[in-house]
Symmetry: C2
Subunit: 240 residues, 2 copies
Amino acid sequence: MHSELRGGINSTEEVTSKLRELIMNGTLVQGERLTETGLAARLAVSRTPVRLALATLEREDLVEGAPNRGFRVRRFSIEDMREIMEVRAVLEGMAARLLAEKGLEPDQNATLQECLNGIAELIASKRHDPETFREFARINDRFHTSIAAFAGNTALQRLMVRNPFRSAPLLHFLPDEEGRAALIDAQRDHIRLVDAIRKGEGTRAEFLMREHGLLPLQRADQLFTNINKNAANQRTDEAS
Amino acid sequence: MHSELRGGINSTEEVTSKLRELIMNGTLVQGERLTETGLAARLAVSRTPVRLALATLEREDLVEGAPNRGFRVRRFSIEDMREIMEVRAVLEGMAARLLAEKGLEPDQNATLQECLNGIAELIASKRHDPETFREFARINDRFHTSIAAFAGNTALQRLMVRNPFRSAPLLHFLPDEEGRAALIDAQRDHIRLVDAIRKGEGTRAEFLMREHGLLPLQRADQLFTNINKNAANQRTDEAS
DNA sequence: TCTTGTTGAATTGCATGCAATCTTGTGTAA
DNA sequence: TTACACAAGATTGCATGCAATTCAACAAGA
């Protein structure tokens, strides 16, 4: 009974976010079996909140369950991630368009500008350590979340909050140099995006955002291509 | 303990879909309080599956719950419905674009054609009774569901299946003549949409679908305008 | 060696008890 | 009459027991 929990109003919520975190940061490996009793013991609660939490996570597509056979951590293939990002890109594009069409309030404009400035500072600092990338992820998240919130469509906003996939975590898989390049690319996109929104150019904003949303995917492809090339080269080497 | 249930493998699923149905068809009124014990008694199960079902429905935005204060049926304002439809229209537009870009398999093409033919028959029959509208709703649903399925993005498909709002039910609120007009409009949209998909014109398909998705909204606005006009006239009458 | 049947342990799904929290109705004081 | 306080009833949230199902290991037969 080592209480890894305690601190929230109700257990179910605590368990849900704790599990979400454990899955997202890889502590619970993809495909791993999740038993109610096991998790209950680990989190020092009874099976009831665990069961509730798992049902919630199933709706978020973080775990998948079969009747009478419990749950396991969902496996995400590259193809799955591509699909999720495509959907996200379209939804975020919609948010950008709505915001451009509606116009920015002064404080909203200021918020976006803060994000631009923050990332600009990070780039100017020329650092490429993990902390820099985490800071980028925070600002980037705020930038995108803000646009979704400012767009004024609560149904859209809710959908995006629940769709758990953010692109930033992918940066961790890139080597430092590439990570820095990705950061610069992202900033370039952000600047053009904010420009379009400020000018009320809805269609331009929408498609800039779509393209921006697929940016990490291109890098993933690139990574994959490199990996495949290496594999191919190795096979050629072996054959000779 | 009048068993309104029994017939499925597990209770939770049964309760979930039963509740979904009760909410959708209006048996459970918007804003109505839902007590676990009440529902459990009504559906002849214990509180456990009811609790799980309510958690699921909360994620679907059909009910809303507050900590320690249970759940109530969610209230949908006109504005809420507009927002949901806008999101749906964008997602369906995406599906149409993907399908157009990917190209139709022969059997997929046949399925869409069947839908077109079915609705054409309904229009030709010149009937405007409730059964005709229900049949339209069925075919219409199949049409849209098929496009979502054929698009080949499972993340998108899942999102659309879970977003419970379909436009067809709104037709019930329209007088018969308007309903028939709406049906003709929809068919016109469908034909152009399928044309765009067949020709691989992704952008055209996407925006036709967006416009099509907002069609019931325009009619709702029209209805509302009429209602308001009536109200205004009555006020003028009273004043004179 | 591979397939198939069987048995026991593990696990899920549901029911229910109990404490904590909220709601509601009544009484009291200003 | 209104505002407030308080207590009783109702309801939620969590823990846990029990039956039904599934899983795993092992043995028997092809």
